[in-house]
Amino acid sequence: VLHVTRPLHTTQQSLAPLPPLPEKGGEVRHGLIPEEFFQFLYPKTGVTGPYMLGTGLLLYLLSKEIYVVNHESIAAICILSVIIYGVKRFGSDVAAFADKLNEEKVAKASAVKNKAIKDLETAIEMEKKEQWRVEGRGYLFDAKRNNVAMVLETNYRERLLMVYNEVKKRLDYQVAMQNLKRQKEQDHMIQWVEKNVIQSITPQQQKESIAKCILDLKALSKSAQAAV
């Protein structure tokens, strides 16, 4: 039996989970009758076919009292009018609300996705900037090299100056020593000469020089008096 009935199984077997509901319902006309019914009757009866069928059926049921009009009918009219009014008035709003709920869900998720994308793009730009910065490292090294050379040069010149100063100090010292020595020799010689000269002046010579000075002074005073 299983093999005989196998060609009859055109869809998956019923043990599988039910296929999910379609996203939108099928088209209906007047909220009740599927569009396929109208299409089904169209080749034989045209556009007005299903309406004639409906009217005829209704009138048949009413006239033969298969559907009896009693108090329930009035209640039926009332509740159906309330329902139809409600659907017509609030139908699109409710549909928009349901769509909005779904939209919010999607928006939340895509907000997360977009933020992630934006963060990654920012990261890419940062990375590119870092790469551009890295290209300038040649300049950095040159500048550093120049700095180092300049520091070395400065150091060298400072040391040169120091050497010069030290050498000059030593030479100055030698010069000062020589000067001092000559000065001392000169002073010593002058003193020795003076001492010798003073020693050589005998008392006789001293008296003679003093008498001569007095005679000179008298002569001078006579000439001075005359001048005045």
Partner: protein, 227 residues
């Protein structure tokens, strides 16, 4: 079909087969399963939104232990809502107009809340029998009154639902009978009664939803006291 006024409340039979179970479980067929898609179609979205709203509303006052009752209370609410609303259509049978069904729903659930309270915190749930700040001479009388009000709760729950729905349905029947009898006689008065009937229908829709909500809400209140 010659209907008397109470034929709508008789349990339906088809060729001798009782249809009461079918009529009670049928409303569940009208709610499609939500089949775990992330973005469901419109009907499922609205259904999910409504059930989330109901569950949040019922479970907010309860503590964590009370959240175990979420499934039964939400499904009870949905069942009562659907049964009540579908009963407003003509020639339908509303199972909640039967006192037997409502008592079968109310009594076990109320009794469960009572037993939970007595088992887990007996002194607190017994303490609910005496409101705070009562003057001392009144205490014995008040305990009797509170016990009576406690024991009458399941009866009140069941009878409230039954009476509201039965009364509403009966009123609809009566006024529509008046309308249709007056139609050949005094069409103007018939028109007035039609207007009354329209207003009554709108009221009945509201009552259907409110009664379902009240039933479940009172059960959560009894649960809050006892859990």
């Amino acid at each position: 079909m010659n209907l008397s006024f109470f034929d709508q409340f008789t349990s339906p039979y088809l060729l001798g087969i009782p249809l009461i179970l079918v009529s009670t479980m049928f409303p569940a067929l009208l709610l499609p399963s939500t089949d775990n898609r992330w973005l469901p179609n419109r009907l499922c979205t609205l259904q999910l939104w409504l059930s989330h709203l109901i569950t949040k509303q019922l479970m907010v006052p309860l503590n964590k232990k009370g959240h175990k009752w979420a499934l039964i209370l939400t499904s009870l609410m949905t069942l009562l809502l659907m049964i009540n609303l579908l009963g407003l259509l003509p020639y339908t049978f509303t199972p909640t107009t039967q006192l037997s069904m409502n008592m079968a729903l109310a009594f076990p659930l109320w009794f469960a809340t009572l037993l939970t309270g007595l088992r887990n915190q007996p002194s607190t749930s017994l303490g609910h029998l005496l409101p705070e700040g009562t003057p001392t001479p009144l205490i014995p009388a008040l305990i009797m009154i509170e016990t009576t009000s406690l024991l009458i709760r399941p009866l009140a729950l069941g009878v409230r639902l039954t009476a509201n729905l039965t009364a509403g349905h009966l009123l609809i029947q009566l006024i529509s009978t008046a309308t249709i009898t007056l139609l050949p006689l005094i069409p103007t008065v018939s028109l007035l009664t039609t207007l009354i009937l329209l207003l009554l229908t709108i009221l009945e829709v509201a009552v259907a939803m409110i009664q379902a909500y009240v039933f479940v809400l009172l059960l959560t209140l009894y649960l809050q006291e006892n859990i």
